[in-house]
C-alpha cells in the first residue's frame, strides 16, 4: 500500500492526475493526499485574474477538486525555498548570461525534492505525483524518463534532471494520455478546472516581463553588455552593425569573426 502526494496546482492537468490517482487508489487501497504549494506571495492587485498557480483562485480550485475526488488536502508553504532555489537562481542566471529554466529548477529542487522529502516525513508518503506529460518505466532496477504519449504536450525537457532516486518515487498519471483526453476526463468528472486556459508563462512573472523582476531583485537597469571577438577584443558595435548589414545585403553567412557574447563587465578568455 502506497501513500502518494498529489501535487495540485489548481490547473486542469494536476486536477485530472489527482482524480485518476484517487480512483485507482480506491481499488488498490493506496492513499492519495492532495497538496497545493504556495511558492511565492500572490502579487496583490490584478493577480487574482492571473493564471498563476499561486493565486487565491488556484488555491480555491485545487481545494475544490480535492473535495470532489475525496482526498485530504493541505496547503504547503514553500515560499522560502522557491525564492532561493528558483527565483533568485533565475535572476542570477540571467545576469550571468545564461538562459535559466526555472520550471526545471522547480522540479529538481521543489516538487521532486523538498515536496518529496517533506511528504515522506510529514505525511508518510513515499511517492509524488504531478500532472506532467511524461512517463517513467523501470527495467532491471533502472528507471527511465520517457516522452509522453502526447508529443504536443511532452514535458520531459523540464524533467530530464531527475535522478534515479527521484524517478523511483515519481508518478505521472497523465503520461499515456493526450491533452484532449485529459480535458475530456475533467469534463466527465465535472471538475471546476475542466475549462481552465493553459498557463505557459513563468508563474512568478505573471505579466511576462522578466526584466522588471531583474530590476526589482538585482537592480538591473537594462545596460547592454560588451561584444568581444574570439581573442577577447572588444568589437566596436557601430562596425559590427555595418558588418551585419553588409552580410544581410549579401544574403550569405560569411563571417570573418567568431562572436562571443559575454556578461556585463566580464571578458572571454580562450
Amino acid at each position: 500500500m502506497a501513500r502518494i502526494v498529489a501535487a495540485m496546482s489548481g490547473g486542469v492537468d494536476s486536477s485530472v492526475a489527482a482524480a485518476l490517482l484517487a480512483r485507482h487508489a480506491a481499488a488498490t487501497g493506496d492513499e492519495v493526499i492532495g497538496v497545493w504549494m504556495r511558492l511565492h506571495p500572490d502579487g496583490g492587485e490584478g493577480y487574482e485574474q492571473s493564471r498563476s498557480c499561486c493565486s487565491p483562485d488556484a488555491h480555491d480550485d485545487a481545494r475544490r477538486v480535492a473535495q470532489l475526488v475525496g482526498i485530504p488536502f493541505f496547503a504547503l508553504n514553500l515560499e522560502r525555498s522557491f525564492e532561493e532555489r528558483v527565483i533568485d537562481a533565475f535572476a542570477d542566471g540571467y545576469l550571468a548570461g545564461a538562459t535559466p529554466n526555472p520550471c526545471q529548477a522547480c522540479n529538481q529542487y521543489i516538487k521532486f525534492d523538498e515536496l518529496l522529502r517533506r511528504g515522506l516525513a510529514a505525511y508518510g508518503a513515499d511517492q509524488v505525483a504531478t500532472g506532467h506529460y511524461a512517463r517513467v518505466d523501470e527495467r532491471g532496477g533502472r528507471y527511465r524518463l520517457l516522452r509522453a504519449a502526447d508529443a504536443n504536450k511532452d514535458q520531459t525537457y523540464f524533467l530530464w534532471v531527475l535522478d534515479q532516486g527521484q524517478l523511483a518515487r515519481t508518478r505521472f498519471p497523465l503520461g499515456e494520455l493526450t491533452k484532449p483526453e485529459v480535458r475530456g476526463i475533467a469534463a466527465d468528472l465535472q471538475l471546476p478546472t475542466a475549462d481552465k486556459p493553459e498557463s505557459q508563462e513563468i508563474c512568478f512573472v505573471p505579466a511576462g516581463d522578466y526584466r522588471e523582476l531583474l530590476a526589482e531583485r538585482r537592480g538591473y537597469r537594462g545596460e547592454p553588455g560588451p561584444i568581444v571577438d574570439a581573442g577577447g577584443e572588444r568589437i566596436d558595435t557601430r562596425e559590427l552593425a555595418k558588418a551585419v548589414q553588409f552580410l544581410h545585403e549579401q544574403g550569405r553567412g560569411a563571417w570573418t569573426h567568431e562572436l562571443v557574447v559575454t556578461p556585463v563587465g566580464d571578458r572571454w578568455t580562450p
Partner: protein, 392 residues
C-alpha cells in the same frame, strides 16, 4: 475516528444548544422587528437570550450588542469606541499579542490618523500593567487588551488593567473570545467598558458574537441600515444563532461551581498532555505556566515545521493547530511568539492542542503518543526545517 484537540479554533454545538435553536430556524422564523405574532415570538427569543447573557456578565440587557461574530465585535469595539471618543484624544493602547481582529482594526485607525501603542509582553506573553499605565497619556482614549491569548493560552491581568484605566478615565476593551467559556465574565469585577464574545468558541453556533457596551460608553456604529440593537448594529437579528449563543453561555458559565470543576478536569488533561509531549527532547511549552487557559497546551518543537506536523498529526488521527487557524498557510511565524521574544526560526515549530468537553484521558494519552511518533519520524527523516535541532 479522529481525536479533535483544536477546541480553541472552534467547538461542536452542544445538543442542548441545537435543541434551543431549532424552533427558531423552523416555526419561530419571524423577523424580531415585525409587529405581528411571528415577529413577537422571535422577539421573545431574542429578549430572553439578551437577558440570559447579560445576567452572566453582570450587565444590563441593553448593554449587550449582538454581532455577526467575534471579529465583528472586536472591530466594533476598536473602531466604534475610538471614533466616538476621539474628542478626548486619538491614542489607542493595545498589546502586540492581540488577535488579528484587534491588531488590524487598530492598524486601520492608525491610517486614519490615530496613534497606536503596541505594548510588549514578557516571555510568557503577559502585559506589564505598570508599563501600560506609563503609556497612558493625555490623549489616550481607548485601551484594548485580550483576556486570554488564543495561541499560547496566557491570561492577562484584566482586573488590574481595568482599575488602571478607570483611574485614568480611559475606555477599556477586552477581547474575551477565548476566555468566554472558561473564565469569570463579571464586567464590574473586570472593570471593562467593552467586552467581545463569540458563540462558537463555547459550543454555540458560528457567525454569532456579542459586544458588551457599558451604559454611557460612546460608540459609533460600524454597520448602518436599521435601528436594530438600539442603533448600534443594523441588520435583521440572527435569532436562532443568538438563542443558541445564550444557551451555550448559560451551560458554560451559569453554574460557576460546575464551570470550575470542568476547568479543573481540563487542566488535568492539559498537564497530562504537556507531560506526555515533554518526553521528547527539544520541546518547550509556551505561554504562562500558571496563568493559562485550562484546556490549552502549546509548545515549540525544535527541528520541525509546525504546519507539516499538524498535517502529519491529521493523517495519524489527531486534529491540532500551529496556534491560530486564522493565519494558517502563512510563511510568517506567529506574531505572538515573536512578541514573546522567540526567534523567528524557532517560532516555526509551534504546536497547540486544546482539549474540550468530549476529551478523555485516553484521548490525550493517545495524542501524546502520536505527537511523539510523528516528531520522531520527521526528525529522523530530516525534513528541511528552518529551526535547528536542539543541541541537548
Amino acid at each position: 475516528m479522529s481525536i479533535y484537540l483544536d477546541h480553541a479554533a472552534t467547538t461542536p454545538i452542544r445538543e442542548e444548544v441545537l435543541d434551543a435553536m431549532l424552533p427558531y430556524l423552523t416555526e419561530h422564523f419571524g423577523n424580531a422587528s415585525s409587529p405581528h405574532a411571528a415577529g413577537r415570538r422571535a422577539r421573545q427569543g431574542l429578549d430572553e437570550a439578551r437577558e440570559g447573557i447579560a445576567a452572566i456578565l453582570g450587565a444590563k440587557p441593553r448593554e449587550i450588542v449582538f454581532t455577526g461574530g467575534g471579529s465583528e465585535a472586536d472591530n466594533l469595539a476598536i473602531k466604534g469606541a475610538a471614533w466616538a471618543a476621539s474628542a478626548r484624544g486619538r491614542h489607542i493602547i493595545t498589546s502586540s499579542v492581540e488577535h488579528k481582529a484587534v491588531l488590524h482594526a487598530s492598524a486601520i485607525m492608525e491610517r486614519s490618523g490615530f496613534a497606536v501603542t503596541y505594548l510588549p509582553v514578557d516571555r510568557y506573553g503577559r502585559v506589564d500593567p505598570a508599563e501600560l499605565e506609563a503609556a497612558i497619556g493625555e490623549h489616550t482614549s481607548l485601551v484594548s487588551i485580550m483576556y486570554a491569548n488564543n495561541e499560547v493560552g496566557t491570561i492577562q491581568p484584566i482586573a488590574e488593567i481595568g482599575a488602571i484605566c478607570r483611574r485614568h478615565g480611559v475606555l477599556f476593551h477586552t477581547d474575551a473570545i477565548q476566555a468566554g467559556g472558561f473564565l469569570p465574565l463579571d464586567v464590574d469585577n473586570l472593570g471593562v467598558d467593552l467586552l467581545s464574545l463569540a458563540a462558537h468558541k463555547l459550543y454555540g453556533p458560528k457567525g454569532v458574537g456579542a459586544l458588551f457596551v457599558r451604559q454611557g460608553t460612546p460608540l459609533l456604529p460600524q454597520i448602518q441600515g436599521g435601528a436594530q440593537e438600539r442603533q448600534r448594529r443594523a441588520g435583521t437579528e440572527n435569532v436562532a444563532g443568538i438563542v443558541g449563543f445564550a444557551r451555550a453561555l448559560e451551560l458554560a458559565q451559569g453554574d460557576p461551581a460546575a464551570r470550575d470543576a470542568e476547568n479543573a478536569r481540563l487542566a488535568g488533561l492539559r498537564d497530562r498532555l504537556l507531560a506526555g509531549v515533554r518526553e521528547l527532547p527539544g520541546v518547550e511549552p509556551t505561554g504562562h505556566p500558571v496563568e493559562r487557559m485550562p484546556h490549552s497546551a502549546s509548545w515549540l518543537i525544535d527541528a520541525i515545521e509546525g504546519g507539516d506536523l499538524v498535517a502529519a498529526l491529521d493523517l495519524d488521527g489527531v486534529e491540532g493547530s500551529t496556534g491560530s487557524a486564522c493565519t494558517s498557510g502563512s510563511a510568517d511565524p506567529s506574531h505572538v511568539l515573536l512578541a514573546m521574544g522567540i526567534p523567528a526560526q524557532r517560532a516555526h515549530g509551534a504546536l497547540r492542542l486544546t482539549a474540550g468537553h468530549g476529551t478523555t484521558t485516553d484521548d490525550v494519552d493517545r495524542a501524546a503518543a502520536v505527537v511523539r511518533a510523528a516528531v520522531g519520524r520527521m526528525r529522523e527523516l530530516g525534513v528541511p526545517a528552518p529551526n535547528p535541532v536542539a543541541s541537548a
